[in-house]
């Protein structure tokens, strides 16, 4: 009852003159960036971050969360209509969505995507609200060993899930953890890796690192891949939305339930971002769906499953962020950065004081309003939104690059930060080039200080006894989960090799024919 009361109070805040415009703006930005191939929702959140410096925390987080949530939906427009996935998470949508478009059922495909995003977003948001208090109560019992184990689990799972190569993801994570150690150590006031440069004494500003890696680096990489030529949008008649009937939706109830549960649960796991949940939801549909043999040929299940998976993962990611202060994806890492910029450390304490509690519930309520708002915008303004594609890519990239640089400069009005972003932009490009995922590095930078302080506190409190992490039940369980996460890539590789070997055994006959 208290939860519903708090949620109602949060809803009133969201509908206030301060929060609602930010929510609507966030939804629009999220839609625009996810439609443009190569920009993506994380870049949208990163680009908006510098503008939140002078805002209150509540509208700032609502703005970023709205970009995040609508960014998981709007990519369906270009994937379904033009076969251009705005982001990797939209790839499964085009397999069936574009097939429907080719059959002249584009409006129906978009209708299914809208219904799926609405259902996935609302169900997972409701689950998130229900889980928030139990999670924060559990987190209140966390001491330094538990916190270290939780962060360690976050690190291992993101390394296991973030990229296709565990080794590269782990190296990326270690680089991030090392970057977090640059500057003057807080306990001993010892200089670490400052190379005698005063600018490095206070450490590197993580906002600039985020904008450099996700923003500038990604844009440079896009220039290196060549900007795609986008055909002019089709005539206005084909860009519309047609809703499925209730009977049609009832027929897909199993897909709705399966994908909603999967999206929310996977969302809670650090590292399993919207892309992974989208692909896994599609994969599960391919294995267990009633019409699995027709998947990929243009059936609604192929749109509903990945769309629910990606939208539901947003609320899932917000649970560990708000209750433990642990981001599980690039976008939530940026949102954590926004919290820290405003001097607020997310975690169980947010739920204890009335002032911070209302902020949390406003954020939670904004997800419900945001999901409904993005679907309304998608339905009403789709013709306007797809016009974004008419902006020349090269010009857009140039302007966004300026935004990145000014965003870095704006934090402290410092030219040093401009150089920092240039360096991290170059690093981001190299990461893309050599297939090192960026998310683990960014999480390492943001969570590195927490990992180090909880590790040092544990060592001090327990006389340098390493076994304490295994002896405490919560930390022991989390370390156990971390070991499973570490073993997962090895198991995946072995299974991959086995299936490859099996296919080679079966292939010669086929190969001989060709």
């Amino acid at each position: 009852m208290d939860v519903l009361h708090s949620l109602g109070a949060g809803l009133l805040h969201v509908l206030s003159f301060e929060d609602l415009p930010m929510l609507l703006l966030g939804l629009l930005i999220g839609m625009a960036v996810s439609i443009m191939p190569g920009l993506g929702l994380v870049m949208g959140v990163v680009l908006a971050l510098p503008f939140t410096y002078r805002m209150h925390i509540e509208p700032a987080i609502i703005l970023l969360t709205a970009i995040y949530v609508s960014g998981t939906y709007a990519g369906c427009f270009t994937a379904i209509l033009y076969r251009i996935p705005g982001e990797p998470m939209d790839v499964p949508l085009l397999w069936d969505g574009y097939s429907m478009t080719q059959r002249g059922e584009a409006a129906k495909a978009l209708g299914w995507a809208l219904v799926a995003a609405l259902a996935g977003g609302l169900i997972s948001s409701a689950v998130m609200v229900a889980l928030a208090i139990p999670f924060s109560n559990a987190a209140l019992r966390f001491g330094p060993p538990e916190y270290f184990a939780a962060v360690f689990f976050g690190f291992t799972s993101i390394a296991a899930l973030a990229g296709k190569s565990f080794v590269n993801a782990f190296i990326s994570l270690c680089i991030g953890l090392w970057i977090a150690t640059i500057g003057v150590d807080q306990t001993y006031s010892a200089q670490r890796f400052t190379f005698g440069m005063p600018v490095l004494m206070g450490g590197l500003p993580y906002v600039v690192i985020l904008v450099g890696m996700y923003g500038l680096g990604e844009l440079i990489s896009r220039l290196g891949r060549g900007l795609p030529k986008i055909e002019k949008p089709p005539d206005e008649q084909t860009v519309g939305t047609s809703f499925p009937s209730l009977r049609e939706m009832w027929a897909l109830r199993a897909t709705f339930i399966r994908s909603s549960i999967l999206g929310t649960i996977l969302g809670i796991v650090p590292g399993a971002g919207a892309t992974i949940t989208s692909f896994i939801s599609y994969g599960i549909e391919k294995q267990y769906g009633k019409r699995r043999d027709q998947l990929g040929k243009g059936i609604p299940e192929g749109i509903v499953a990945p769309q629910i998976g990606s939208t539901a993962s947003v609320a899932g990611h917000m649970i560990p962020l708000l209750t433990l202060g642990l981001p599980g994806s690039g976008a939530t890492a940026v949102i954590l950065g926004a919290f820290l910029l405003h001097g607020v450390q997310p975690g169980p304490m947010l739920f204890t004081s009335p002032d911070s509690k209302i902020v949390v519930y406003s954020i939670l309520a904004s997800l419900f309003v945001g999901v409904i708002g993005m679907c309304l915008m998608g339905f009403l303004w789709i013709k306007v939104v797809v016009k974004v594609l008419e902006i020349p890519q090269a010009v857009l990239v140039a302007i966004v690059m300026v935004f990145c640089i000014v965003g870095a400069y704006a934090d402290r009005n410092s030219m040093n930060d401009v150089w920092v972003i240039v360096v991290f932009g170059l690093l981001g490009f190299l990461f893309e080039r050599f297939r090192f995922p960026i998310a683990p590095m960014v999480l390492g930078v943001i969570l590195g200080p927490l990992a180090e302080s909880s590790f040092i506190q544990t060592m001090v409190s327990y006389n340098n006894d390493w076994t304490v992490f295994l002896r405490h039940p919560i930390s022991g369980s989390l370390i156990g989960l971390s070991i499973i996460a570490l073993a997962y890539p090895a198991v995946r590789e072995i299974l991959g090799r086995k299936s490859k070997a099996d296919s080679i055994v079966l292939q010669p006959h086929v190969g001989g024919e060709s």
Partner: protein
């Protein structure tokens, strides 16, 4: 030929390995007075760098001995659109232009430097329509100056000498004080 391919694939890891080894060496020289029974400020970076070193050595061995396949990313799943391909030189050009932009920003000021930067990056991005390019390069910095200085209150670099005078005139026209 096979060995050369493997060496090329392991080059990035070798570079990281060398950097990590050097940084580990630096941790030996961190100045502090150790409190007995406590972990020093060098402990955490050492753990991180040892993990980095071990991982790099492991990966180099995997590539050189077992010929481990190169890593892929989620972007590889995306189908190649028309106009996409390998244009690394454009990325390098963009980096060069960005470095020059950072160098001249305090001298030319935000407005003048950004006019040239947007034009240069759009050109690097193979945009060749002159009139829209010139128009965008002029209008976008004006809008950005207005947004950042009038709405978000960011004190953007004004430049020096005549460039500063030009920026100040522009700011006066916009009503920015």
């Amino acid at each position: 030929m096979l060995l050369r391919g493997r060496l090329r694939r392991s080059a990035a890891y070798a570079v990281i390995l060398c950097c990590a080894a050097y940084l580990y060496y630096l941790t030996q020289h961190i100045q502090f007075e150790l409190v007995p029974g406590r972990v020093g400020p060098d402990a955490w970076p050492k753990i991180v760098l040892v993990l980095l070193l071990v991982t790099c050595i492991w990966q180099i061995a995997r590539i050189l001995i077992f010929g481990a396949a190169p890593a892929t990313s989620a972007d590889d799943e995306l189908p190649l659109a028309e106009g996409e391909g390998d244009y690394t030189y454009l990325a390098l050009l963009a980096i060069g232009v960005t470095v020059i932009y950072a160098l001249v920003l305090p001298i030319l000021g935000f407005f003048v430097a950004t006019v040239f930067y947007i034009a240069a990056i759009a050109y690097v991005g193979r945009y060749r329509r002159v009139l829209p390019l010139v128009a965008t390069s002029l209008i976008a910095p004006i809008v950005l100056v207005f947004v950042f200085m009038k709405i978000v209150y960011v004190a953007l670099p004004l430049g020096v000498g005549p460039f500063k005078a030009l920026t100040v005139v522009l700011l006066k026209i916009m009503g920015v004080h």
